[in-house]
């Protein structure tokens, strides 16, 4: 057969040659002076028997001025289009196709008959006097924008009959109006069980059987859609989706909503900003981290904390990434606000179990927050006014369809609130701001550049004489390059900076300033290679250079007697290389296996203290110290990390998943307070402080009900932690030159079961989650120093066995919807007094074993109403209100309980935050 095709091809080419010679025979004379295309064509058609085909719009800028006599048609056209990018093509049927930018090939595509490319190239190509191009494979070529559902899009080089075999389809999924990429959209072929999700740039690659296919595309916050394609060969297709405009009577096309079931990963939650914005929050401003707290397996120690605990991990074991930049302090205003501007955030992804191999460096979870891309088509913006904050965001094209920016800013004006406080706090000040500026630029079809930046600052001064401030600064540049349809890379480099500053002024002799900062410089390269339909390979490498100034105490004025105290800077390099493969073994069984090898070097200059081996690291056992010079490798820790997960489909809407992963963490947050305080310091692993290590095994069953409108899942996990840091009694963590004397290495274990029922669409939507989980730590190494609770397991601070969340939204009309949020959890563990005595002029208390008792259970419900202005499309601004009540029942949830002496007598107190129903209102404006 192949031979026969080849012969036919040769025959065709010979024909072509013939025509070329024939054309030369018809000679014509023309004289055009500033002639438009229609004039040219009319005259040429009159003088020859050729018929012209062209798009007048493309040629509206063409003016032809030539004078020729007795020339063949080709020469006339050649002359007419000289030095322009207009092209012509002449067929055997005396048809002339005029095009702009590229020529129509009048012969069949070289590989039309399935010839191997090699054969094709060796064939003589005859019509080469003008630039030729293959429509499916040229940079300038605009990839078809598939915007409608009913059109059949032809992908690849068209053939008369569809070849058996597979072809690769790739492209971007974008939001039709703004041109913004849709991340995490799933693309499924209805009749096979394979599907893919778009990456962080909205890019996808899927390998399909050739022929006619229906692609189902589902993106969060987007209207479900499908595209009909006929796939001839490898090709590209960009898909425009429409934002979900919710309507009263929704037509559901839900047979394809199986992403959660089909995905290989488990323990992953994806939320877009729309669902985040529906959840009522205390000051009426959508809060990314508060919503994360309602997900199964995520807990918090209290309301004033945006630190969260995932599956028994501590708050510093979460890697919080904002556009790939590490955010060290994700909170504002004592933790009442999270650091992420809801107007800029596009969506979030929380990885609790199957952490992709490209992430590393933290034990518990990765919270990946992605900003929107600016609108590439027009300028838009929005503004919001709340009780304590105002927001503004502006976005728009810099170069239309190529470059866009998005800017978001928030400021507070909370001083009025502080002025309402009792005298003791009246003179307090607190404020914060944050700014995001992101620029994305499409260099060409294969190269994109993204620049993202973030700046935040918090300042507060309570009635005391001490002023606090802290700040995040992040910037990174990302270059995405598509080598071809199957291989693409993302190279990211950036700088992350976090610092805080405490300054005291009141007493001249003691006035001081204390600084802490951490800097990291990142470079990473991530590659994705779509090997074939069954295998998708990810590989890459990353490196982080840390420079940390653990503390710098300086006198604040000339009278101050404060002794400058500088803890030497710490340096380290954390590098990793990884490779992973998602392998679809059969339609029903998929495996994702990855390995990440991380290497950590603690670098000089540094003086390291040496302790007697086998004895507690206390000053009594200090032997000597060793000094190291700059960039000298002091200590290396390294090890492999495994990331495995597998999925087996049990029918169309049920699947079983299992996973195992191991992680290593080289940087620790030193905090012996219950909630993360803004002044906690980070510490790098060094010869005396080992990196933390954790592994987790998990198993889940996923099932979709009611035509996939209801997603359910159950997951169980068991996790081990090693070398998690806890603290000696009375540890001092600030300005401690021998921090190893005050920390203890503990081992931990955590296990739990998580249930989730989610209804993502419809008038009534929301989710219910319930988690039973336990987390225990122990310190039983007598040689490491003080035993905690006699070396037995004790509950971690965030061990809250029962945790229930309900988030429900009901839409009455386009313009009015209500939301209700209900949370219940077991109280967190506390250490209670068990005896009292008299000492130092007062009653004092003697405490039980650590975390032996619990504070009362936590319950809260919040309610909000969203009222939208009219929905006329053409108006200057669109307005909306959010009105609601936080803590509807006014339950006085215990944030903490404590015992303190007042006037010589011990009293127990329960501290509640937000102990009353708190009404809020927020006004938003979009332009």
């Amino acid at each position: 057969m192949k031979k026969l095709y080849f012969l036919s091809l040769c025959f065709l080419m010979l024909c072509k040659l013939n025509y070329a010679q024939q054309n030369a025979g018809t000679l014509i004379s023309v004289n055009f002076q500033q002639a438009g295309i229609s004039q040219v064509v009319a005259e040429l058609e009159a003088k020859t028997d050729y018929h012209f085909y062209y798009n007048p719009l493309q040629f509206d800028s063409l003016k032809v001025t030539i004078q020729l006599s007795n020339k063949p048609l080709e020469a006339v056209l050649e002359m007419a289009f000289k030095n322009t990018n207009f092209r012509y093509a002449i067929t055997s049927g005396h048809q002339v196709f005029l095009t702009r930018g590229r020529e129509i090939q009048t012969r069949l595509a070289a590989d039309f008959f399935g010839n191997k490319p090699g054969v094709n190239q060796s064939s003589p190509n005859i019509v080469t006097n003008v630039a030729t191009a293959n429509f499916t494979d040229e940079k300038e070529v605009k990839v078809p924008e598939a915007t409608t559902e009913n059109k059949l899009y032809e992908i690849g080089i068209k053939t008369n009959t569809v070849e058996p075999g597979k072809a690769t389809l790739s492209g971007y999924v974008r939001e039709g109006k703004s041109g913004e990429s849709v991340v995490g959209a799933s693309i499924y072929v209805t009749n096979t069980k394979t599907g893919v999700a778009t990456d962080q740039f909205g890019y996808f690659t899927i390998t399909l059987p050739k022929g006619r296919q229906i692609l189902s595309i589902r993106g969060i916050g987007m209207r479900d859609t499908r595209r009909q394609i006929i796939l001839y060969s490898d090709g590209k297709l960009n898909i425009d989706m429409q934002e979900q405009v919710t309507s009263l009577k929704e037509v559901k096309i839900s047979a394809e909503k199986v992403a959660n079931v089909r995905n290989v990963q488990l323990g992953v939650n994806h939320l877009d900003i729309k669902s985040i914005k529906q959840v009522p929050t205390v000051f009426g401003e959508a809060d990314v981290l508060r919503v994360v707290l309602t997900l199964p397996g995520v807990q918090t120690v209290g309301e004033a904390s945006t630190g969260f605990n995932v599956r028994g991990g501590s708050a510093d074991q979460n890697l919080i990434l904002l556009n790939d930049a590490t955010i060290y302090n994700p909170s504002h205003f004592f933790g009442f606000f999270s650091a992420f501007n809801p107007d800029i955030v596009k969506d979030i992804e929380l990885y609790k179990s199957s952490i992709p191999e490209k992430f590393g460096g933290r034990l518990s979870s990765v919270l990946d927050i992605t900003d929107r891309e600016g609108n590439k088509k027009k300028f838009t913006g929005s503004a919001g006014i709340g009780l304590l904050t105002s927001r503004l965001n502006v976005e728009g094209p810099i170069i239309k369809d190529k470059t866009s920016f998005i800017f978001g800013g928030r400021v507070t004006y909370s001083d009025w609130l502080l002025n309402l406080l009792p005298e003791a706090y009246k003179h307090s000040q607190a404020s914060f701001y944050d700014f995001n500026l992101d620029i994305s630029h499409q260099i060409d079809d294969k190269n994109n550049i993204y620049i993202t930046s973030y700046l935040s600052k918090d300042k507060f001064k309570l009635n005391s004489d001490t002023a606090y401030s802290y700040s995040n600064k992040n910037i990174n540049i990302k270059w995405k390059h598509n080598f071809n349809d199957k291989l693409f890379s993302v190279i990211t480099t950036g700088i992350d900076h976090y610092q805080y500053d405490i300054a005291s002024f009141d007493n001249a002799v003691n006035a001081y300033r204390l600084n802490f900062d951490i800097n990291q410089t990142n470079l990473k390269a991530d590659f994705t290679y779509y090997l074939n339909r069954k295998n998708t390979i990810n590989f890459g490498a990353s490196s982080i250079y840390y420079k940390l100034h653990p503390g710098n105490l300086q006198p604040n004025n000339t009278q101050s007697l404060v002794m400058p105290d500088v803890i030497p800077a710490q340096q380290a390099l954390e590098s990793a290389a990884y490779v992973g493969d998602k392998y679809d073994i059969t339609d029903d069984l998929s495996l994702s296996a990855g390995i990440r090898y991380s290497l950590y070097n603690y670098l000089g200059p540094q003086t390291v203290y040496n302790y007697a081996p086998g004895l507690p690291k206390t000053s009594a056992n200090l032997i000597d110290s060793t000094s190291y010079t700059k960039n000298k490798v002091i200590k290396t820790y390294s090890g492999p990390e495994f990331r495995l997960s597998a999925r087996y489909n049990l029918g169309d809407n049920t699947s079983l998943k299992a996973g195992y992963n191991t992680l290593r963490q080289y940087i620790h947050l030193l905090s012996n307070t219950t909630a993360i305080a803004p002044t906690d310091v980070w510490q790098l692993s060094d010869p005396n402080i080992k990196p933390q290590y954790g592994d987790q095994v998990s198993l889940g069953i996923y099932r979709n009900l009611k035509s996939n409108t209801i997603e359910t899942s159950v997951e169980v996990y068991y996790k081990r932690l090693r070398d998690y840091l806890d603290y000696r009694s009375g540890a001092n963590l600030i300005l401690n030159h021998h921090i190893e004397n005050d920390v203890l290495s503990t081992d931990g274990k955590a296990y739990g079961i998580e249930f989730l029922i989610k209804k993502a669409t419809g008038k009534a939507n929301g989710w219910i989650s319930y988690t039973y989980s336990r987390t225990f730590l122990k310190q039983d190494d007598i040689n490491a120093g003080e035993l905690i609770n006699g070396g037995a397991y004790y509950p971690a601070n965030f061990d809250k066995p029962h945790d229930f969340n309900f988030i429900g939204n009901y839409r009455f009309s386009h313009r009015f919807s209500i939301s209700l949020n209900v949370t219940y959890s077991t109280g967190r563990p506390i250490t209670l007094p068990i005896a009292k005595y008299y000492y130092g002029g007062s009653e004092r208390i003697y405490y039980s074993d650590r975390n032996e008792y619990r504070i009362p259970d936590y319950f809260r419900s919040d309610f909000s109403m969203n009222i939208e202005g009219n929905h006329k499309v053409h108006q200057l601004t669109h307005n909306s209100f959010t009105i609601g009540i936080y803590n509807l029942t006014g339950r006085q949830n215990a944030y903490s309980t404590y015992f303190t002496q007042q006037g010589g007598v011990i009293n127990g107190f329960k501290l509640s935050i937000f102990a009353k129903p708190i009404p809020f209102i927020n006004y938003n404006i979009r332009f």
């Binding site: 405490i502 005896a835 005595y837 008299y838 405490y847 935050i913």
Partner: protein, 390 residues
């Protein structure tokens, strides 16, 4: 006195704005153990040493302590030379000036009647510089008292203070009359029956610590001692404070710091967790037995100052602790009813006659409650020995 470690306790703002603080009684949890509590400072100098021994009690008990007697209490050096303290009852053991050798280390050695032995670690004698000054200044609506001290040889570094305060005050009304206990008649007060001016006192109940650890010189500059609200009766007339200063070792300082954190500084948003208290006293045979207390040795320094009301802002007005309206009237014969109110309300009742009224004769007395005219309810009339008027 760099208060870096204490910042968390300042962050209670959120609680104040939207939250609340309510009494909390935990589920009844109590240990049946009664742990030994040892409190006191061994005075190496020119004054007596007092050690108090007690045991912990259950939280639910009404008493806050349980005194321990019949112990033998000895201060001894490493060679076993000892000074035995004399039991004074109620868990108190004392001894006069010992003039300890500042180059040596000493420990406290305790033996209970059953033969259980406890001992502190051997502790060095800490040198304690004299208190430089005690000062005060108005701050917001309080009077802030502070201490300044320094050690030119830079080797004290860790300090603790406690104090006893005494003040003179008066009642709302000055009563010149009294019901004679024998004759049951209202009569003028004798000089020893005057109850308008009294003295009251109090002791520190907070742990006051200071450290110059992070300073180039061993200087405590205006370390806060206490604050007195400007409406307090303490400042009404004249006030005095006797401040005692103790030098600590670093470990001793940490012990007190820990105790303070555990019992005085909780309740903010960013609380440190309560931690176990590690003292320096142990059961010799069973080191695991918890014993509460830290023994330190120093030459106790003290200083007294007086603060007169004339030194304070003139608009500071003491708030009277009882609700005293205008004086009430009691007739011998009420104008309309003819009741003998003096008999009913003053002689048989609780009213205290302040001043008589009437035209040309005593028709009755203006009277008030004891709280508004009798200072002995909360003080003593007798002037303490150390009291000095201006």
């Amino acid at each position: 006195m760099v208060k870096i470690k204490n910042i968390y306790c300042l962050l209670v703002i959120g609680a104040i704005v939207w939250g609340c603080k309510k009494p909390y009684n935990p589920p009844v949890v109590s240990s049946d153990n009664h742990y030994l509590v040892v409190e006191g400072v061994i005075n190496s100098g020119n004054d007596s040493t007092v050690i108090n021994l007690s045991r912990t009690v259950k939280l639910t008990e009404n008493v806050s302590t349980q005194a321990v007697s019949n112990f033998s209490v000895v201060v001894e050096d490493a060679q076993g030379n000892g000074y035995t303290l004399k039991p004074e009852g109620n868990g108190k053991y004392d001894i006069g000036p010992m003039h300890l050798d500042i180059s040596k280390k000493y420990r406290l050695h305790l033996k209970d009647p059953t033969g259980k032995e406890y001992a502190s670690d051997y502790v060095e004698v800490r040198q304690n510089p004299p208190i430089d000054s005690i000062g005060f200044f108005p701050k917001n609506n309080n009077l802030q008292l502070y201490v300044s001290t320094h050690n030119a040889t830079n080797n004290t570094r860790y300090y603790r203070w406690d104090y006893a305060e005494t003040w003179r005050f008066h009642t709302r009304y000055q009563s010149g009359y009294i019901v004679d206990t024998v004759t049951k008649e209202v009569r003028g007060r004798r000089i020893n029956e005057l109850v308008y001016f009294c003295f009251a006192g109090d002791k520190s109940s907070n742990i006051i610590l200071g450290s110059s650890e992070k300073l180039v010189q061993d200087v405590i500059a205006q370390g806060p001692i206490t604050t007195i609200p400007n409406t307090s009766e303490k400042l009404e007339l004249r006030y005095t404070i006797l401040l005692k200063q103790y030098a600590l070792t670093k470990e001793g300082y940490q012990f007190w710091e820990n105790m303070r954190k555990n019992t005085e500084q909780l309740g903010s948003i960013f609380d440190a967790q309560p931690s176990q208290l590690q003292g320096n006293i142990h059961n010799i045979n069973d080191p695991a037995e918890p014993v509460i207390g830290y023994v330190s040795i120093t030459d106790i320094q003290s200083k007294r100052i007086f603060i007169d009301n004339s030194q304070l802002p003139t608009d500071w007005i003491a708030k009277y602790p009882y609700d005293c309206g205008p004086l009430d009237t009691a007739y011998y014969s009420a104008p309309k009813s003819g009741h003998n109110d003096v008999e009913d309300l003053i002689i048989k009742g609780n009213g205290i006659p302040v001043v008589p009224f009437g035209n040309f004769r005593v028709e009755g007395y203006l009277y008030t409650s004891a709280g508004c005219t009798d200072c002995t309810i909360r003080g003593r009339v007798m002037q303490p020995l150390f009291w000095k008027e201006k």
